[in-house]
């Protein structure tokens, strides 16, 4: 039984703080995006010029499509691996318990350090990855400077660091499945696969959704790995949108008007994706 009454005072500090610290910069960004502003020279009013420049820029479209591709592929790969591993380690054994603790480690290392580590590991000239490939007689690609390989490298780094996040969530989901339901299915003669598909999966879907949503949102923001591993190389081939905003707005020459326009577009884009995912989920749930 909840209390009736006015909790406004309680909620006020949080709401005010959030509004001030997120809303005002965003409003300011909308304002700035109407100017052509090469900081620290004075800004020049330019109306919608920044947006037209944005939408006619090849880099904008390539960064955006890179980001969509990146999010989709990485998410699918990570979810598959995470589900498989979660199923593998759900029984209680010493090895599994140890693994569950070990899984925490990659998530908690600062992403900067992880990127640096893999920048070393993937170094085509003196890095261990190519060293081992050489020992195995396999070709040693230029991991960070050549196109398909650079994406593989970025994806591998993200998998290494963040799949544990999904694994732990799926584990929690698996544990939430009441064992009697599973046993009942077994008694009815269901195979392992059917057991999973018709009993377990629908029950863990809501949790997978939450994990997935968080993962997609974080993938959209990926920045450290691009900046430190490939720096957008080769060419601008591995530019993700976050790097696009940073590079255009704050690196070298500060075109803050253009950068602000790019930021606003990104906000809308992210919002659209989140809303789509949520709607998709509810549609899926309604069907089940």
């Amino acid at each position: 039984m909840k209390m009736k009454g006015n909790p406004n005072l309680l909620l006020l500090p949080a709401m005010i703080y959030i509004t001030v610290v997120t809303f005002f910069p965003e409003a300011y960004a909308v304002y700035i995006s109407a100017f052509r502003w090469l900081f620290p020279s004075p800004p020049v009013y330019a109306g919608l010029d920044n947006y037209t420049a944005l939408f006619s820029s090849d880099l904008f479209y390539s960064s955006l499509s890179n980001t969509v591709f990146w999010v989709a592929v990485t998410y699918v790969v990570e979810t598959s691996i995470a589900l498989a591993v979660a199923l593998l380690i759900q029984r209680d054994s010493r090895l599994n318990k140890f693994t569950r603790t070990l899984l925490i480690v990659p998530m908690m290392i600062p992403p900067v350090i992880v990127s640096e580590l893999w920048a070393y590991l993937f170094n085509p000239v003196y890095g261990p990855v190519n060293y081992f490939l050489h020992a195995l007689g396999a070709p040693q690609p230029d991991w960070l400077g050549h196109l398909p390989e650079a994406w593989y490298a970025l994806i591998i780094v993200d998998i290494w660091q963040w799949t544990p996040f999904l694994i732990l969530i799926f584990l929690a989901a698996l544990y939430s499945v009441p064992p009697d339901l599973v046993e009942a299915a077994e008694v009815d003669g269901a195979s392992t696969v059917s057991k999973f598909r018709y009993v377990t999966l629908p029950l863990i879907l809501p949790i997978m959704f939450i994990g997935g949503l968080l993962r997609v949102v974080d993938l959209l923001r990926s920045f450290e790995n691009v900046m430190l591993l490939t720096r957008g190389n080769p060419g601008q081939g591995t530019w993700l949108y976050s790097f696009f905003i940073f590079y255009q707005g704050l690196a070298g020459s500060l075109q803050v008007g253009y950068g602000a326009a790019a930021s606003i577009v990104f906000l809308l884009f992210t919002g659209a994706i989140v809303v789509t995912i949520i709607m998709l989920y509810f549609r899926l749930m309604a069907r089940a």
Binding site: R36, L38, F39, P40, S41, N123, P124, V125, Y126, D142, L144, G145, H146, L147, T230, R231, G232, N233, P234, G235, Q236, G237, L250, A251, G252, S253, L254
Partner: protein, 498 residues
């Protein structure tokens, strides 16, 4: 049940509280733990007469030094903390070797913040945009053109008055004019000083070239041929090592290629960019051709080429004179005894001397710090410090005519720093006889444009489009045509072109 819960929670609380507390204590201890008090190093006894200087180092820490002070000193600055932003190049390493002496004479405490060049350049633009005077002495890398660009943006302090107040022993006339010009604006206001001046050279593996009877390249076609000859990545050897990241470094190498083919950044009279002129495209094309034989091309930034060469991975390296220095250090290089040097093999003879690393005083710092910064600036460019330039234990191209002309410093390829001989020769050759370097023109790596920020914009357009060449998606011609379009657009927006 609740009892267990409570005990469980209490233990959690204790454990976590202990950990957090431990972290805080640990952090505090770590912060307070200072290294043992520094014992002053060997003192140097210096007598400066504006000419060659003899230095004797004594090992005792208590000997009283006798010095002629040939740089700007203000006794009231004793105790001031001076924040220096420096890039982690060999120049900083060399400069730091003199710091104890500076600190002892002036009482100023220098605090170096040394950063990698890539991030530092990002930082520098943010720093100046923020008008924060955190670092009173800024190392405006690359050279005077950075100083110039920051000067017209108002980020650097004009130094003419202070230079006038220097003791006569400082001998301002002795400073090579190109270095002064590059860090001044056209009206003669000086905004900084260069620590050294140098050029790009070619380093090559003597052992490999001799063993396979390959001629040392003297022009760009020979250069490409040699790089192709030595390109054996499966055996761990690449032809050459070059800059190739999507940041500013390739831009400075690009400069050499376009100048080497007779091109230039823009037509100064009409302010029109010349990115798609035939000479510039030709130069860019040579750079693109060489890149195919370069080790880790797309990720090589400022001194990575040197580390690869020093690790024996490449047969050649094109780089700044000072960036090549670590190749000769036995502790960091495995090819220190196998390296030869040759002039940059351009089509056109190397006309200009590219000046390098410089310091400027931050216009937004507190006056006391600014003065302290100026003091250090004059110390590092003083006759007695610069006269050490070509001694075996140091090594940088000096920026004073007296040092360049001193008989014992005449180019001798047998000394450890003999590889600088070509640079010294070029510097001397650029001076009309009898004068002190007044005539030589220091080519500016960044075009000197009247509006601050546009030069950096120019650079950014070139290196962003150049990155596509590195990636193999564009030819040199395509990249330069696109650059021309972008540059004209930029110039028009900023009012430099109609």
């Amino acid at each position: 049940m609740s009892q267990d819960k409570n005990v469980g929670r209490r233990e959690w609380l204790k454990l976590t509280g202990g950990v957090v507390g431990g972290l805080i204590v640990g952090g505090a201890l770590g912060y307070l733990a200072k290294p043992p008090v520094e014992v002053p190093g060997p003192t140097t006894t210096v007598t400066a007469t504006g000419g060659p200087v003899t230095v004797t180092a004594t090992a005792t820490a208590t000997a009283t030094p006798t010095e002629v002070v040939d740089f700007y000193v203000n006794p009231q600055l004793a105790g001031t903390e001076l924040n220096i932003m420096a890039y982690d190049t060999i120049d900083t390493v060399q400069a730091k070797k003199f710091i104890d002496e500076f600190q002892r004479i002036t009482g100023i405490k220098p605090i170096w913040t040394v950063m990698g060049e890539g991030t530092a350049n990002d930082k520098l633009s943010l720093e100046f945009a923020a008008k924060s005077g955190t670092f009173a002495l800024d190392y405006n890398s690359m050279d005077g053109s950075f100083v110039y660009n920051n000067a017209i943006a108002g980020n650097c302090l004009p130094l003419n008055d202070w230079f006038a107040k220097c003791p006569k022993e400082y001998n301002f006339d002795d400073v090579l004019k190109p270095t002064v010009k590059s860090s001044s604006t056209d009206d003669g206001t000086i905004y900084g000083s260069l620590w050294d001046c140098g050029n790009h050279w070619l380093a090559y593996r003597k052992d490999l070239f001799e063993a396979e009877n390959v001629k040392v390249p003297t022009n760009l076609d020979e250069l490409v041929a040699a790089a192709e000859h030595f390109y054996r990545p499966d055996k761990g050897l690449w032809g050459i090592t070059l800059f190739g990241t999507p940041d500013l470094f390739p831009f400075f190498q690009w400069d050499m290629f376009i100048w080497g083919c007779g091109g230039k950044h823009l037509d100064e009279a009409t302010m029109e960019p010349l990115a798609n002129s035939p000479e510039v495209i030709e130069g860019t094309d040579y750079y693109a051709k060489l890149g195919k034989y370069a080790v880790d091309w797309s990720n090589s930034e400022i001194n990575k080429p040197t580390t690869y060469f020093a690790a024996g991975k490449a047969a050649m390296e094109l780089n700044f004179v000072t960036a090549l220095a670590p190749v000769l250090d036995p502790t960091t290089s495995v090819v220190f005894d196998k390296t030869g040097f040759a002039p940059w093999p351009g089509k056109v003879a190397q006309p200009n001397i590219l000046t390098a690393t410089g310091y400027s005083v931050n216009a937004y710092s507190k006056p006391k710090e600014q003065e302290a910064a100026f003091s250090l600036l004059t110390f590092l460019t003083s006759p007695h410090v610069q006269s050490q330039a070509l001694k075996p234990e140091f090594g940088w191209p000096p920026m004073r005519a007296s040092v360049v002309e001193a008989p014992e410093n005449q180019p001798d390829v047998n000394t450890k720093w003999g590889w600088m001989a070509p640079t010294i020769k070029a510097i001397i050759a650029a001076q009309p006889p009898g004068t002190k370097g007044a005539k030589s023109v220091a080519a500016s790596p960044l075009p000197r444009l009247p509006k601050p920020g546009v030069s950096f914009g120019y650079m950014k357009i070139i290196y962003t489009n150049f990155a596509k060449i590195v990636a193999g998606t564009w030819t040199a011609e395509q990249a330069m045509n696109q650059s021309q379009k972008d540059l004209v657009d930029l110039f028009k927006t900023e009012g430099l072109l109609k």
